[in-house]
Symmetry: C2
Subunit: 152 residues, 2 copies
Amino acid sequence: MKASTDECAHAILEVAPAIMRTIRTEMRRHRTSDLSVPQFRTLAFIDNHEGPSLSDVAGHIGLTLPSMSKIVDGLVARKLITREIASADRRRITLALTSRGQTLLTAARGATKACLAEMLQSLSLTDRTLVINAMETLRLIFLQQPANTAAR
Amino acid sequence: MKASTDECAHAILEVAPAIMRTIRTEMRRHRTSDLSVPQFRTLAFIDNHEGPSLSDVAGHIGLTLPSMSKIVDGLVARKLITREIASADRRRITLALTSRGQTLLTAARGATKACLAEMLQSLSLTDRTLVINAMETLRLIFLQQPANTAAR
DNA sequence: TATTGTTATACTCTATAACTATA
DNA sequence: TATAGTTATAGAGTATAACAATA
């Protein structure tokens, strides 16, 4: 094993899509929450930040403004978040979770995580540590920001 | 660090979507290939297997038959693959790459991998080994099948 | 004039339900 | 009757281009 950057890229390119498909399928199967991955990520970001603007969310999640705007539309329509005009700068909007959104986010996080955790149960402690460390490493590259809290 | 299955799940749930977004964006930016992730995965599967049927591809990639059928439609229209009726069982189809598809797949693989590799260059050899090992571990869980070849 | 967001438009991805053709 | 695929339909995610409102 040379562990070249190329081999590393190859491994990621093969495994990441498979993981995502599992996550997506799992999220949709929980009819109670029924959130798509982008919706989930949007709610999670709003939960972790104080009244972010559309640009804040779009930038951090990595979507264009129109895409994000549409996702926000859906979440507002489902009464999971509120969208208000910022008083300081009326061009900006301020996003926040409703209590319903908060509840749903918590439920979705729990359900999906529980399912993933279930799939990971066959791993040894060593392997789990390995995966967590690798994710921490990749987070620095793909998310530009360190973990902000412990597992929620 | 407890390295519980729950923490492990949490880490994956946070990082995997970010990785995928990078991959998707990158794939779309290479106007020469211009493949979506599902299209890329479909081509790769056909490349790695001998004349698979629609069910083979759909099953392994984790899509329903209609979804897969539509993706195949697009690839056939772009002349990247061929779709022929199997002589043994006329209900089945046999998929194969055209030389154009083969070329495009190779190009897309190279371009995306190169971009990822570039992003991974800041990692130490130790970290790269860590990531590769973690991916190998996760592959067994999310892909049910071991790596079939070395990095291509 | 520059910034923030939304609307219009057009793809692709994805699923479920209903259908056709073959076995 | 069961299996392999396709078609019909619908909704979400995504982008680019054009627009409106505010600074």
